[in-house]
Amino acid sequence: MNILICIKQVPDMESKFKINGEGTWYDRADLAWRMNEYDEYAVEQAVRLKEQVKDADLTVLCIGPDQVTEAIKKALAMGCDRGVHIADPDSAKREPIAIATMIAGFAKDKNFDVIFTGMQSQDRGSAQVGVMVAELLGIPAVTTIVGFAYDNGTVQVKRELEGGSKALVTATTPVVLTCQLGLNTPRYPTLPNIMKAKKKELLPLAPDVGGLGPRQETTACAFPEKKGGGLVLEGEIPELADKLIQLLKEKTTVLA
C-alpha cells in the first residue's frame, strides 16, 4: 500500500505575531514552529493504517523553506518511511491552487492509494489544498474526517458536519482524506524512532507550479481592531446574578 501524507509547518498559535514589512502576512521573527495540528492527525492515521495492513510505505511531503524539514523529521519519527521536501522559500505567498499543483505534480505517477492531509492549516486556514489535490489527480476527496476504517481497498470514514451531526462516507481507493480534530490522538515519538528518523530518506525537490500564473494576491493583512473589552463582574454570587440580570435586561433583548 502506498500512502502520501501532506503536512505544513505553521507558527505556534501562542507566538507573538507581528505583521511583516509588506503588510501582507505575519513576520517570521520570534515565532516558534510546529507541525500543523490537523496534519498531525493525518500522520497519526497513516501510521495506524500501516500498523493495520503491515505492508505499506508512507511518504510525508512538506513545502516551504529549509526549516520545514523539522516538521518532516517529526513525521518520520512518528512512523513515516520517507520524506519529500519541496524547497520553496516563497510557499507562504502562494495561493492554495499553487500548493495543490506542486503536490499533485509529485503524486501523479506514484500511485498513492490514500492521501492524508489536514482539513486546513492553522495559519492560512483556506481548507482548499486537500480537495484541490484530489481534483487535480482526478480522485475523490472526503473532508473533515473524525473517524476512519480501512478494509481491502475500501475506506469508511466519519465526517463532521455542521451542528454536530456526522456523516458516514464510504469510498474506494485512491482517495484524499482531510483530517479534523477528534480523529485520533497523535503519538509521542519514541526515542528509537527519533534515532531511526535521522537516517530515513529525505528527498529535496524544486518547486514546480507547472506554469500556473498568480490568480489571487493578498493585498493587506491586519490584526482585528480592538473593540471594547469584556466586562468582569465581581462580588458575591447572589449579587452577581442580580447584576447579570440587570445587564441582560438593559443591554440585550434575551429577557424581553
Binding site: D12, E14, D30, Y188, P189, P192
Partner: protein, 665 residues
C-alpha cells in the same frame, strides 16, 4: 580471690566438645555462605554499576550506619529499640568471641587468660546487662509487631522465626548462666553480684539439686550452641540477612550528589533500549536493595502518594523488584509494579532520605518512567504529553510563546544578557516565574530586592528555556538532555560567573544534573542568596512581627539540606515560625515534584490540600514557600481546602520585599 569463671564448666574442654562444636560451626558457616552465594547470582542479573569508588569513605559510612545505628535511630520508638537491641546483641557477640578467643586460643596455646579480675567483673556485668536490654527491647518490638500492629507493617513467618530464635538464644543464655552460678557462685556473692541477671536466675533455680542443675546446664548449653549456629545458618534465608545486606548496602550507598539522576548515553547508536521494563534492565544495586530492605515501612509512612490513597508504596516497589528477581525474572517489570504506581511518585525523596538501608527508590521509578516515555511514548495523561510538546516548541510546559519569556521584566529595568551582559549575576527565572502570573510576582519581588541591595541582575529572556527538570523526572531524558545542552551553551556563551534561581527544581538541576554537561557555574537558591544579603546588612528589613508557617520544599530541603537559612531569613525579617508537624527532613511534599506539576492528580486525595490543612493547623495566617511549584499547589490547595480566608501562601521573597517597603515607608 580470683574473679573469673571456668570456661566450658560442666561441658568439658576436650575433643568431644570442641570437635562437634567447631564441626557444626563449619557447617553453619558453609550453609550461610552457600545461601549468600546463591543470592549473589541473582544480584548479578542486574546491569553493572561501580559502587566501590572512595572505599575509605564507604567503609566509614558503613561502620557509622551499622555500629552507631545513625539511620535506624532517626525514628524514635522502634528505631531506639532496634538500636539498643543491636548494641546489646553486638556486645554479646563480642563477649562470646572473647570467651572463644581465650578458651580456644590464648589459653590453649599460650596459657594467657584475660577474663579475670576487674576486666572479668566488667565483662560479666556488661554482658549480663546487654542480655537484659536485648530481651527487653525484643519484647518491646514483639509487642509492637504482634499486639499494637502499626498500620502498614507487614508481618510474615520470617518475623516469628526471628523473634523465636533471638528469644531462645537470649533466654537459654541466661538459664545456662543461672544453672552454672547456682552450682558455683551462690556462696560467693561478691562475684555473683557482677552477674545480676544470672544471679537472679540462679536464685530461681536454687530448688534443684546439683545433679539436676548440671544436667539442665549441659543440655541447655548444647541447645544454645545449636540455636546460635542455626542463627548463622539461616541468615541468608530469612530477614536476618539484613545484618549482612543492609550493612553492605551502606557501603554500596549512592554517594551523591543527592538527587542527581544518572545521565543516559543517548549518543550511543547501538543502544536499542532505554529505561527498564525488565529486571535485567535495572542495575545489580536495584536488586540488592530488595535484599537489604527490612520492611520497616518508614518509606511508606512518609510517601505523600501512599498517604493520599494512591497505589504507590516505595517499600512495595523495592520488594516487587526483589520478588521478580528471585522468583520470575522474566516477567514484565512495569506490569508488576503498575503504571499508576510508577506515575504517582513526586520524587520528594522522603523514602530515600529516611531509609535506614541505603535503598534508592526514586532511581528505580525513574528508570521505569524512562522506559514508558522513551520506548512507548506513554505518559500519565494527555495533559503531560501536551506539556512535553509545548516544551519542545516553546521551551516551556505552559505553552506560552517563547518570545514573551522576558516580558515580565520589561518594566523593572532589567535586561536580557543579549542586550547587557555586564551583570553581577544571572537570574535563571524558570518557566513559572516567567509566565505564571502568581509567580511573576515572586520574580518581581526578587528583582526589586536585588536592586535594593545594589546587585545588578540580568536574565536570559527569550533565550532562556525550561531547565528540563519536570521532563527528566517524568522520564523524558531525551527532551531533558536537549534542553540541558542548549541551556548550558547559552549560559556559557555569556561567561556567567554566578546564577541565582527562585525555583529549587532549576537550582538542583543546574547545580547537580548539569554537571554531566561540563557545567560548573556557581548556582545559589534565592533563599540562601537573600539570607546572605540580609546578614550582610545590604537589605534593611523591618516592620512589626508576624506569624507564619514555613514549608520546606523537597528540592531545597531533602535534596539539598537547606533548612536553617530560610528560617533564619524569616526570623530576621520579624517572622515567628509556627512549625507544621511535618517539617524539615520530614516535610510533606506539595505534590508537584517528579514532573507531577504537569499532570492532573486523579487518584486518591489531593496531596496539596492535605499539606495546606497541615499549615492551617498551625494557626498561622501565612504559609511561606520557596518554590514556584509549591506556591502554585498551595494557591490551588487553599481553594481545595476552602481556607482562602485563613491561609495566604506566599514566597519568602514576596514577604521580604514587603518588609523592605515597610521599613522604607
Amino acid at each position: 580471690m580470683e574473679f573469673t569463671r571456668e570456661i566450658y564448666w560442666n561441658v568439658g574442654h576436650g575433643f568431644t566438645t570442641l570437635a562437634p562444636m567447631y564441626g557444626l560451626l563449619l557447617v553453619a558457616v558453609a550453609v550461610c555462605a552457600l545461601g549468600f552465594f546463591k543470592r549473589l547470582k541473582v544480584y548479578r542479573l542486574g546491569q553493572p554499576l561501580d559502587r566501590t569508588d572512595g572505599r575509605g569513605e564507604r567503609v566509614k559510612h558503613m561502620l557509622e550506619t551499622m555500629l552507631l545505628q545513625t539511620k535506624v535511630f532517626r525514628v524514635p520508638g522502634p528505631g531506639t529499640a532496634h538500636a539498643l537491641f543491636f548494641w546489646s546483641f553486638f556486645v554479646l557477640f563480642i563477649g562470646t568471641a572473647l570467651i572463644v578467643a581465650q578458651a580456644d586460643f590464648t589459653d590453649l596455646l599460650f596459657d594467657i587468660k584475660f577474663l579475670k579480675g576487674t576486666f572479668y567483673k566488667l565483662f560479666s556485668l556488661t554482658l549480663d546487662l546487654a542480655g537484659l536490654v536485648a530481651i527487653l527491647m525484643l519484647t518491646g518490638l514483639l509487642v509492637r509487631r504482634y499486639l499494637i500492629r502499626p498500620q502498614g507493617l507487614v508481618t510474615k513467618g520470617d518475623d516469628a522465626l526471628m523473634h523465636g530464635f533471638l528469644f531462645a538464644i537470649l533466654i537459654t543464655g541466661f538459664l545456662i548462666e543461672g544453672a552454672r552460678m547456682a552450682v558455683t557462685e551462690m556462696h560467693i556473692p561478691q562475684l555473683a553480684a557482677w552477674s545480676p541477671v544470672g544471679w537472679g536466675v540462679a536464685t530461681l533455680l536454687a530448688g534443684l539439686d546439683e545433679a539436676g542443675l548440671r544436667t539442665l546446664h549441659v543440655v541447655l548449653w548444647w541447645c544454645h550452641l545449636l540455636l546460635a549456629l542455626g542463627f548463622i545458618a539461616v541468615l541468608p534465608f530469612t530477614k536476618f540477612r539484613h545484618i549482612v545486606t543492609t550493612s553492605a548496602n551502606a557501603f554500596f550507598a549512592d554517594r551523591g550528589p543527592t538527587g542527581k539522576l544518572t545521565t543516559v548515553n543517548l549518543e550511543d547508536e547501538n543502544t536499542e533500549k532505554f529505561g527498564a521494563n525488565e529486571l535485567g534492565d535495572l542495575r545489580w544495586k536495584d536488586i540488592f536493595d530488595a535484599d537489604a530492605c527490612t520492611l520497616c515501612k518508614r518509606c511508606q509512612d512518609r510517601c505523600p502518594a501512599y498517604a493520599t490513597g494512591k497505589p504507590l508504596s516505595p517499600m512495595q516497589v523495592v520488594n516487587q523488584i526483589g520478588e521478580l528477581a528471585f522468583t520470575r525474572p522474566d516477567a514484565n517489570l512495569i506490569e508488576t509494579v503498575g503504571r499508576e504506581a510508577i506515575w504517582a511518585c513526586t520524587t520528594c525523596r522522603a523514602c530515600q532520605d529516611i531509609c535506614p538501608a541505603s535503598i534508592e527508590h526514586v532511581g528505580k521509578i525513574i528508570e521505569m518512567r524512562r522506559n514508558l516515555v522513551l520506548m512507548e511514548g506513554e505518559f500519565p495523561g494527555e495533559e503531560v504529553m501536551a506539556a512535553m510538546e509545548q516544551t519542545e516548541v516553546n521551551g516551556n510546559p505552559l505553552g506560552m510563546g517563547y518570545a514573551a519569556r522576558g516580558d515580565w521584566a520589561e518594566s523593572l529595568g532589567i535586561k536580557p544578557l543579549a542586550e547587557d551582559p555586564e551583570v553581577d549575576l544571572l537570574y535563571f527565572v524558570g518557566c513559572y516565574a516567567s509566565f505564571d502570573k502568581r509567580n511573576i510576582a515572586v520574580a518581581t519581588s526578587f528583582v526589586r530586592l536585588c536592586q535594593a541591595a545594589g546587585v545588578k541582575v540580568g536574565i536570559l529572556g527569550k533565550e532562556e528555556k525550561c531547565c528540563g527538570e519536570p521532563m527528566r523526572k517524568m522520564g523524558n531524558e531525551y527532551l531533558y538532555q536537549t534542553l540541558a545542552m542548549e541551556t548550558v551553551e547559552v549560559i556559557k556563551g555569556y561567561g556567567v560567573k554566578k546564577i541565582v534561581t527562585t525555583c529549587p527544581h532549576c537550582f538542583n538541576t543546574l547545580a547537580k544534573d548539569y554537571r554531566d554537561f561540563d557545567f560548573d557555574v556557581e548556582v545559589v537558591p534565592h533563599a540562601l542568596f537573600l539570607e546572605q544579603l540580609v546578614a550582610d546588612s545590604r537589605l534593611p528589613v523591618g516592620g512589626e512581627e508576624f506569624t507564619c508557617t514555613y514549608h520546606d520544599s523537597c528540592y531545597l530541603g531533602r535534596h539539598n539540606g537547606i533548612y536553617d537559612a530560610p528560617r533564619k531569613l524569616i526570623r530576621s525579617m520579624g517572622g515567628r515560625i509556627a512549625e507544621m508537624a511535618k517539617n524539615r527532613d520530614q516535610a510533606f511534599c506539595c505534590s508537584a515534584g517528579g514532573g507531577r506539576i504537569l499532570a492532573e492528580e486523579k487518584l486518591g486525595e489531593r496531596i496539596n490540600v492535605k499539606r495546606v490543612e497541615m499549615a492551617v493547623a498551625t494557626g498561622a495566617g501565612q504559609l511561606l514557600a520557596n518554590c514556584p511549584f509549591c506556591l502554585t499547589m498551595f494557591e490551588d490547595g487553599v481553594k481545595g481546602a476552602n481556607v482562602e480566608e485563613q491561609l495566604r501562601p506566599r514566597d519568602i521573597a514576596e514577604v521580604l520585599a514587603e518588609r523592605l517597603a515597610l521599613k522604607n515607608a
